[in-house]
């Protein structure tokens, strides 16, 4: 048996032994464990599962062991992910620090900054949010206006961010701020970490079409930020942000597995809500065509994820492939939600109504949530611009 097969067996056995059965069922929104200094757990099992994974370093499997990670290489991490998926194990910990900030600090941070932030993220002790977008700076992020003035021993931050997911629940925020207003757009920006408890930081929630309010507007009013909170060089924040966007794109491309939704997939739902006719085909041929088109595209996307991974492992990586995955992943997720809505018919239309079961209610929530996927983390149109220019080399 190869080392990797051996590893797979060990991982599988450990998960079997340590993941409580209740943590192997599909997760609902209320059951996610989010990082934070005032962490709450939806159940004892969730707490137990989180603690066991944390102690293994498997909340962040690929980070260095001495900083609280699991020290796995990419192949091992993939095996862990696959085995978790096979057993249905839930993601034990949710946090933007894991998905986005951590990798940037590992890449750009000083040794002190790594020591200060990475272990806390690994252990889920702080919750992070992302302060990029502003009312006047969305796709054109580099036109952002939030100022950080150099006051000798600290920065003085003034301005407003918008669409800050979970800012009202976060302990810290990583921000893009303008440190040199006279420089060209991209060149006067720095990457700054701000404690949400600092005087002058405030948030107001924004309600979404899905009825939730996970977005906020975030205000900075004469906030004093220590100079040691600068990641990377002064006025070089744009490179940090770009590298971080890579992680965000990857995350968004893979999203779907962990987003709360109904417990059935489209095929299962179709068998239940549409049914087969005497020829063994879905009774509604139009829906059948819609469904199979989605299923086939979904499979092609899965195979492309796999190909991209294999290419990296074999040292023949095509760096263009990851650039398409955010677009295809999110657009196909949206299509899946449309297909599900169509399959459930009017049973998908209930809103906070006990006449409908949980799966039916979650179907339209998932559908509404999915609309944001092709906006957040760089809109689909922006992804297309990137492919056209960076990959195909088409002129400006």
């Amino acid at each position: 048996m190869s080392d990797l097969d051996q590893f797979r067996q060990t991982v599988h056995a450990w998960l079997e032994e340590n993941c409580p059965p209740s943590q192997r069922r599909p997760i609902t929104r209320d059951e996610q464990v989010w990082a934070g200094k005032n962490k709450t757990f939806p159940s004892n099992d969730a707490k137990l599962w989180f603690e066991r994974m944390r102690d293994k370093g498997w909340t962040v499997p690929e980070w260095p062991v001495e900083l609280g990670g699991g020290g796995l290489d990419e192949r091992q991490a993939k095996i862990l992910k696959e085995e978790m998926k096979r057993l249905g194990c839930r993601t034990p910990l949710f946090d933007l620090g894991i998905w986005m900030l951590g990798p940037a600090v590992l890449e750009y941070g000083t040794e002190e900054q790594r020591q200060q932030h990475i272990p806390k993220i690994a252990r889920g002790e702080v919750r992070w949010c992302q302060g990029y977008s502003e009312p006047g700076a969305g796709s054109d992020l580099a036109s952002l206006q939030t100022r950080a003035e150099d006051k000798g021993d600290h920065f003085l931050v003034n301005g407003a961010k918008i669409w800050t997911t979970n800012a009202d629940k976060a302990d810290w925020i990583f921000c893009l701020v303008r440190t040199d207003p006279s420089a060209k757009k991209q060149e006067g920006i720095s990457f700054l970490l701000i404690n949400m408890d600092d005087p002058g930081v405030s948030t107001t929630p924004i309600e979404l079409i899905s009825g939730e309010s996970e977005f906020c507007q975030t205000f900075f009013d004469n906030v004093k930020v220590p100079k040691s909170n600068l990641i990377g060089e002064l006025n070089k924040g744009w490179s940090v942000a770009k590298s971080l966007l890579k992680h965000e794109r990857k995350l968004m491309a893979e999203i779907g597995g962990d987003t709360p939704g109904p417990s059935f997939g489209p095929v299962q739902a179709a068998l239940e809500y549409v049914g087969l006719d005497s020829s063994g085909k879905l009774a509604d041929r139009g829906l059948r065509e819609q469904l199979v088109s989605h299923e086939m595209a979904f499979r092609a996307i899965g195979l492309t994820h796999f190909r991209s991974f294999e290419e990296r492992m074999n040292g023949v990586a095509d760096n263009n492939v990851p650039l398409i995955m955010k677009y295809v992943g999110t657009e196909e997720s949206k299509r899946k939600e449309e297909v599900l809505m169509a399959i459930l018919g009017h049973r998908a239309l209930g809103w906070n109504d006990t006449e409908f079961n949980d799966d039916e209610l979650l179907t339209n929530r998932g559908w509404l949530f999915s609309k944001a996927l092709s906006i957040a983390g760089g809109t689909s149109e922006v992804q297309m611009n990137i492919i056209a220019k960076r990959v195909l080399g088409l002129p400006e």
Partner: protein, 373 residues
């Protein structure tokens, strides 16, 4: 399962690319068309392909084959799509030899396979009877008569049908499907060549009371349909590989044109209306690459999901090749509809390839049924 070519396969692909660009560019097809060539392919070119080992690549070593697998052959076929190279490779090797390998008797194998490997024997599969692909329930009949069978019926859209040395004809037996391998010059066989839009060839083949020996039946009535299904799936996958190559080439030529053509004082590639459509095509090609590779590896690994992969690959490449050829014409503007530009050859090949072994509706329907809905 692996979706990456190994060193040997990559080398093979590069060699194929060089050879095809040098010897069989699109201009070679244009020449065949303009000269109204009788065969529809250049035997000298075919001989060179044989020398490169392409005819023997997937045949078993016991019969002079290289047993190199479909990941390798698929890579070659993909490259052949780039130059729209016309040859008997598909009919003879992918469809024909698969049927013999899967269902043939020891005698049939040792008679036919070494000749295929040597490039001295060509085959054609006589399958279709209607305007659309129909892989079973044939109207052509084979009725037992003493030690012989008598075949009656008409087969349409028989690729390489007019030039093949032997025909494999799919028939209805009293029960089940019978595949017979028949000398194309047997009494009662009447072949009419057709010229198609893609400048390759197909024929109508009539079987008028054709008497064949029982020993020309491949497998038996029970196995016939399964053998045929396997060969058709290999065919669909290899055709998808060819279409991927052709679509990629057509796309790359179009992107090059977007960077070269000036209008309104700028390169037309700077217009976002064209950029996003080009990006969309790129995405579809990347997804297609993964699907084709996985389907080829499913053949080599004899995986149980082969039929699904075959339908996934064929449906996808039908759609993507159509999209890309249409866009290529459009983005070339007026010159895109001229015969002088090669783009029209790709457009025409796309529509022929789509009709071979099932259009997208056929394959989506099949995929859904295979998945239980």
């Amino acid at each position: 399962m692996t979706l990456v070519l190994n060193e040997e396969q990559r080398l093979l692909k590069d060699t194929a690319k060089d050879f095809l660009a040098r010897v069989m560019p699109v201009a070679a097809l244009r020449e065949l068309r303009d000269q109204k060539d009788e065969l529809g392919f250049n035997p000298n070119h075919w001989q060179q392909m044989v020398e490169l080992g392409w005819a023997s690549m997937v045949l078993p070593e016991a019969y002079d084959g290289l047993d190199f697998g479909y990941m390798g052959l698929g890579a070659v076929i993909e490259e052949s799509g780039r130059t729209l190279a016309a040859s008997p490779l598909f009919s003879t090797v992918v469809l024909g030899s698969t049927i013999i390998i899967e269902g043939g008797s020891e005698e049939q194998k040792s008679t036919f396979l070494p000749q295929i490997a040597a490039g001295t024997l060509s085959l054609a599969l006589a399958l279709e009877e209607k305007p659309h692909h129909q892989p079973s329930d044939f109207a052509t009949t084979a009725v037992a008569d003493g030690d012989d069978y008598i075949i009656n019926g008409e087969k349409l859209f028989v690729l390489d049908g007019h030039s093949a040395d032997y025909l494999i004809v799919a028939t209805r037996l009293q029960t089940g499907t019978g595949l017979f391998i028949v000398d194309a010059n047997t009494d009662g066989i009447e072949r009419r060549r057709h010229h198609l839009i893609d400048s390759r060839n197909a024929a109508t083949v009539r079987f008028n009371h054709v008497r064949v020996k029982a020993s020309s039946l491949i497998g038996n009535a029970e196995q016939g349909q399964d053998i045929l299904n396997t060969a058709m799936d290999y065919g669909r996958i290899c055709l998808a590989a060819e279409m991927l190559g052709a679509a990629s080439e057509c796309f790359e030529r179009t992107v090059a044109y977007l960077k070269e053509r000036d209008q309104f004082g700028v390169k037309i590639g700077s217009f976002q209306a064209l950029q996003h459509r080009a990006a969309k095509m790129f995405i579809e090609l990347e997804l297609s690459k993964s699907v084709v590779l996985d389907a080829l590896s499913a053949i080599d690994e004899k995986r149980a999901d082969l039929p699904q992969l075959a339908s996934l690959a064929k449906a996808r490449l039908n759609d993507v090749f159509e999209l890309i050829t249409n866009e290529a014409v459009q983005m070339h503007g007026g010159i895109g509809v001229t015969d002088e530009l090669d783009i029209g050859f790709f457009l025409k090949r796309s529509r022929v390839a789509t009709q071979i072994l099932g259009n997208s509706h056929f394959h989506r329907d099949r995929y859904a049924s295979l998945c239980g809905y």
